[in-house]
Symmetry: D2
Subunit: 462 residues, 4 copies
């Protein structure tokens, strides 16, 4: 076990950070941090400095001697890092607003991780992960990359398969949240349950067994449309047809609502859009409030309001993973890692989100085996969509982007989808240098942004 | 080589039959028929007798001594059959009208082979194929089943994989049509070209090479939206984005329009729906006209009007296949047959539509190998949808039907799709005994058919 | 957690049993046994009664109230069983003597688990496992089958894949022995190490990592030919070429010596054969001595001499597995279980021996992924040999037996191997009813047993 | 169709060449050659000039205007080549004598294509194929490489998979010989039969069907040990057990004798070895006689003695392939080409020998599908052995060479095999620069060649 652990968090100015800090404080005995570096960009200076000051207050209040540092140059932070965690958002929340509003302005779901919006988030984020890995290779070649940046599955696939950083683990709070809330909904202690999970990030299924080995999946399916449902706060609680779920005898994740109930989810989101209350706009407001709280020099604990933000249990996933690596503790967790045959009929070298053991050698997936045709078909088309997106992101390949849109089940193919793609390219111009030529061509052809909110952001240079 | 070939055609009263007869007449030297039996149902007595009389006139005019028989009991026809060809339509064209109009009445594509309509056509047809095979096993155990009944891929998969009739070959006129019309569009003799085709029925791609081995796929992609395009008559000529096609560097089949241009295809079909001019209604009118012609006792050749019907080159596929089996001629054709590794990442025992050699041992597929992620993802989701549909058809499994709808890329998931499914179940009650309980439950719950045309048909007992 | 656990041990009269009992006593707090039934055959009455009396003394000395029962009818023992452990030997040690001496009398390795002898052990054992499972299905349908009977991999494959008893886990002491002895040879605490193991029973490889995640496989390869080597007592310590091992960078199991050093192993065994000191004959003598000790009414602990017997750490594997199931403890162990993609390029439904988690739902394998061509080729030919053997055992298929011999890398193909096969069939006649016709044919053709020791056993009806 | 075809034959001085020339003459109408270049090495000047003179006489006698050229610099010959055929033998027949005699001097089969000798032939040959391809890439980038050099499967795999020359087809006369001689043994016209062949070069199986589609494989198995057997002249006609063959219901190739009857084949070869009549020594004598004939200035047809040489029907394979490419004739032939799923459970990108269509786009394999466990196990271990050999050949990787020997089923593992390997390395020093360090080390350690014949060759610098 190494002492004096150094952690670097890229995107340290996130509103999530206090939860992460709280997680490290709780685990200090088994995970003795020495330094925590927050890396962010100049545009986020206010936020990161606010959060760092609060984090330092939290550590000080904990009685542990941990030093929080802020830098705007990740190359200053990386040397000697043991763990690099990523939670940055290229283009900040303004970009997410565009990802959601532009498709909705044409009657198409934006969906920031799996839909048209998610494809564009991947296009913006993946090149940055590549640059971070280039720096890690030089400055901290033994460090682990713990990725939380969405779309977490695609970003993790790019990190491992394309950029070759084997010591990457992709995380998400969705699986851990299910593990925490589902058992109690049946009066069972979560610690006694066995979870088998398989799929892709934001697109996975699980089965659950009690302490005697009895499967309780069907009991939990019966809870899925009730108030006890483990739906993340950012997803409208549209009922999923239970007869469909019982046929598969598998629990979906909340994001399956977009696919199984596309019509209803679109209706919800169009209503939100009309009220300037898309999830991104709501989050923006929540974040503004959170930062006001964080700025209070007397606050030295995570404020309860953060739990409405949507990433609850983030620290259980992130800090738990790091602690398991550090202590070689072979903890069973659901993470994004290389498939290698865990899920049949998906490519061996693609990244999947599966039940794995986490230890000093990283993530070892448990075998899931064959999928039924229904789940298999869904996973395969989504993985193909992800592969096209990653190729587009890395190579600036417009044909691959067309193919990602064409495959995406949330995007109805045709001229409207083309218009959405064009507007998104133009709106995100600053963060898509790999598509500079295509964007120039579109602008020359007179593409206009239809949504006034997005036009306003662009006018402000956001 | 066997002499005195006996052919049995199930659904002999089809308007296509004269083309089939013409095909046999053209090939008589290499394929000497002795008897041709037409099997049909009592409701189709007029049609089959009209067609049979015309077929006999065609044979008589040809100078060959071939006898045409009509029966309404297939067990009378099957003994001693060498080849059984299937071109029947359970529920006749009235069922197709329901398949197309019910979804469109709710703003959803019907699509009679791959969409909601195609799923229901499979539900009606597959049990009948099972019954035919039961009879063949007893009465003509060495016969080949040459299936032309749509959805041809799913029906063929059921015949081979589920009902165990290995001597089945599934056909479609789409691939052979491409082979006939594409070369001339570039001024090339079709006989000199090499076609590599792979995918599923009505969902396949191909590459083409000239006599020197040079690939000419890109040249043909450039023709796809021109007047020379090999689009079947039944598909609206919506332009497919060429940049998407050039990315894959593969030629799609016409049915890809539904997937690549869903928005435009839906708009076309909604306009046709409003004019009572859906494809099924148009075909109904064409067929009525054809049968008037066929009834002319002086007509002893295939009338030119048949070529507008949509199945052009049917006889080139069907008669060509039979001739290749009979003469052991190792002809290269695109047919539906067992995958066995021909297309990677699709199940080995599923049926695919691929370039194959046809000889006395049946169809041997040529290896295609790996698909790019884009085509792979599409094929996988479609194959999964087909597997769910076949299971639903054979087992009357409502959960599997839900899953087929859920996976189908032409059906937007949600309450409207549920309503469409319910109406289709009720409208096709007479042909879906495997779903009797579910239909009774739906009727008890008060499901109503929204479309007046369909209600009229039902009121007439059609 | 269930109370009052009932365990049934088939082949309870084995000399190993005291170790098993000791293992249960050590784990009583977490695994509270109520009854332990020993099932054996009449021919083994003396042995099983001796062992049962000693086992009862051991439990009594432990202060726990556990009752040992003996029966010669497994249907009396099975009702209500929680765990059925199998350690029987069809034909007793006399059969093993034939398995080893007949091949060696012709200059061919017998090798009781993977060679010609192992094939015949499978032929005798697999039908009996089938009969046990038939009884379990009726009498204790929720029980787990913990198989220790060799050839453990093939027997487990028959149990799961052929006889359909999913609740089977196959065990062997070889992997656990490596985990116990290797760490200390480098001065490391075994509890801190991570083992990744994959292959087939008696034919697997492993990698080892220390607590910080550093791989120490190469350090252990350097120990393999030293006195610290973890070679089981039953395998001659012929040095394995280290350059070969370092190329793979994997630790082999002791049985690989037969394959990597065939010439030397054969020379050793021929010398033992000449001295009537084949392993089976040595074990026979050791067992006779052990049973003299067990008969001592004052002995109530496992005698140290048992550790020379060859199955050391048997109880760590068997009792550890049962305890992990009972307590749902997710222990990492190497067991024989269904592949399901854990090892690429072996069939999904075959049984492999791999690192797995053991919990109340049984064994869940960890993904190993791709093998290098060298290990892959070896595993594939061995698995194919196993499949042919299992088919021969279940169906009495002589062709499959020919194929198993033909594939077995320890058997040089030709007339001599045919003679060995014929003699083994005849010598084991009493236990191979499925080959009765072939054996009758061979006897009629005048096959004679060449080895005098085997002829003597046969003359005594053994 | 291109005119004025230019063919370059590397190893033009082979005794086989007149058969090749005869093949081109027979096919001149469909394959109009303009130039045929013979490339060879200075040490083979006499032979190649003799053969070239004879080839020119043959062309002149045919009345076609084809010019034969000789060069000792392949870069002079390659520019403008349409087809490059390879039939060279690195180290000439002297190397083959070493390949066979060194193993036999230690009681181990040499086997020049699949045994220890074959491994060393691959080590010598593969780097030369790499150099030829480097030159082709520069000088004739559109040419086809038609490889006949043994071990043809491994050389073809290196050419396509490792050196990236996609336009390579590997040939062997064994499959075509079977197609020519088997039908007549049953009184059937070969042209009416359908062959399905799959496996590796010199290690494949086939099934045969008559003109009506009836399988006649079993009838041919019954002929395999008779005088009509299609055994190549170079393989001793040891009977293969028919019960083994009927179990698989597949026809083996002649080389399977080495695996199925290892004991008998070894006895034959040891007898030949003792008489200085190993196959290589016999061939050497045959070749000397052939070259005396070829030197006769009146000889202008292929002499009948050539058919004893062992490569009969070479020209049917080689010229037939070239003709099919040139004329885009889609001929069904068995060739070595990329697997791509044709044989399940072998790597997609390895080379297999399978029934394929040959046309202007090269070889397209037909799907074979699943293998039974027996054949599958054999193929997998042989392919793994081939992969290790190719890696050793290209990288000079001694560990990979150890692994190839370890896997090879014809080599009993142990100290003797190590000695054989060492002697072969030293004996072939001149042609194994990639192993220079290892050879120096072995020589320093005092390795001696045991066989006097080989020592004599080495003393003569051969």
């Amino acid at each position: 076990m190494r002492d004096a652990i150094k952690i670097v968090t890229i995107g340290g100015g996130s509103s999530y950070t206090p939860e992460l800090v709280e997680g490290f404080i709780k685990r200090y005995d088994r995970l003795p941090l020495a330094e925590h570096w927050f890396v962010d960009i100049e545009e986020g200076r206010d936020k990161v400095e606010t959060v760092a000051a609060m984090a330092q207050r939290m550590w000080d209040a904990s009685g542990h001697d941990v030093k929080v540092h802020v830098t705007f140059d990740r190359r200053e932070a990386l040397p000697g890092a043991d763990y690099v965690t990523t939670q940055f958002r290229v283009g900040r929340l303004y970009a997410r607003i565009k990802d959601e509003r532009i498709p909705l302005s044409h009657g198409i779901l934006g969906q920031e991780t799996n839909g048209a919006g998610g494809i564009f988030k991947a296009l913006r984020t993946i090149p940055v992960i590549g640059a971070i890995i280039d720096d890690m290779r030089e400055l901290c070649p033994d460090a682990w990359l713990i990725n939380f940046t969405n779309p977490s599955g695609m970003v993790t696939e790019a990190a491992i398969r394309n950029f070759g950083w084997e010591r990457t683990i992709g995380l998400c709070n969705v699986p851990i949240r299910a593990e925490i809330v589902e058992g109690p909904s049946l009066g069972l202690d979560p610690a006694t349950l066995t979870y088998q999970c398989a799929g892709l990030n934001h697109f996975h299924w699980h089965r659950v067994y009690d302490a005697t080995g009895r499967e309780i999946t069907a009991d939990l399916i019966a809870k899925i449309n009730t108030d006890d449902s483990p739906i993340p706060a950012n997803i409208s609680p549209t009922p999923i047809p239970e007869d469909l779920l019982h046929t598969a005898a598998l629990l979906p994740c909340g994001y399956h609502r977009y696919y199984f109930c596309t019509e209803e989810m679109l209706a919800h989101e169009l209503a939100d859009f009309a009220n300037n209350a898309t999830r991104s706009e709501t989050v923006k407001r929540l974040e503004d409030e959170l930062f006001e709280l964080y700025a209070d020099p007397n606050l030295d604990v995570k404020p309860p309001q953060l739990s409405q933000r949507g990433g609850a249990h983030y620290s259980d996933a992130a800090c738990g993973t790091i602690e398991s690596i550090h202590n070689n503790s072979h903890t069973r967790m659901t993470v994004s890692t290389r498939n290698n045959g865990a899920i049949k009929y998906l490519p061996d070298d693609c990244i999947v989100e599966v039940s794995s053991l986490i230890s000093a050698i990283g993530a070892e997936p448990l075998v899931w085996g064959e999928m039924r045709p229904h789940e298999r078909g869904w996973l395969q088309v989504m993985k193909a969509m992800e592969e096209c997106t990653i190729k587009a992101a890395i190579e600036g390949d417009f044909g691959a982007l067309l193919e990602a849109f064409d495959l995406n089940p949330l995007i109805p193919n045709g001229a409207t989808a083309r218009q959405v793609m064009a507007e998104l390219l133009v709106a995100h111009e600053a963060y898509l240098p790999q598509f500079a030529d295509k964007i120039a061509e579109l602008k020359a052809s007179g593409i206009e942004i239809g949504d006034a909110t997005v036009r306003d952001l662009m006018a402000q240079g956001l």
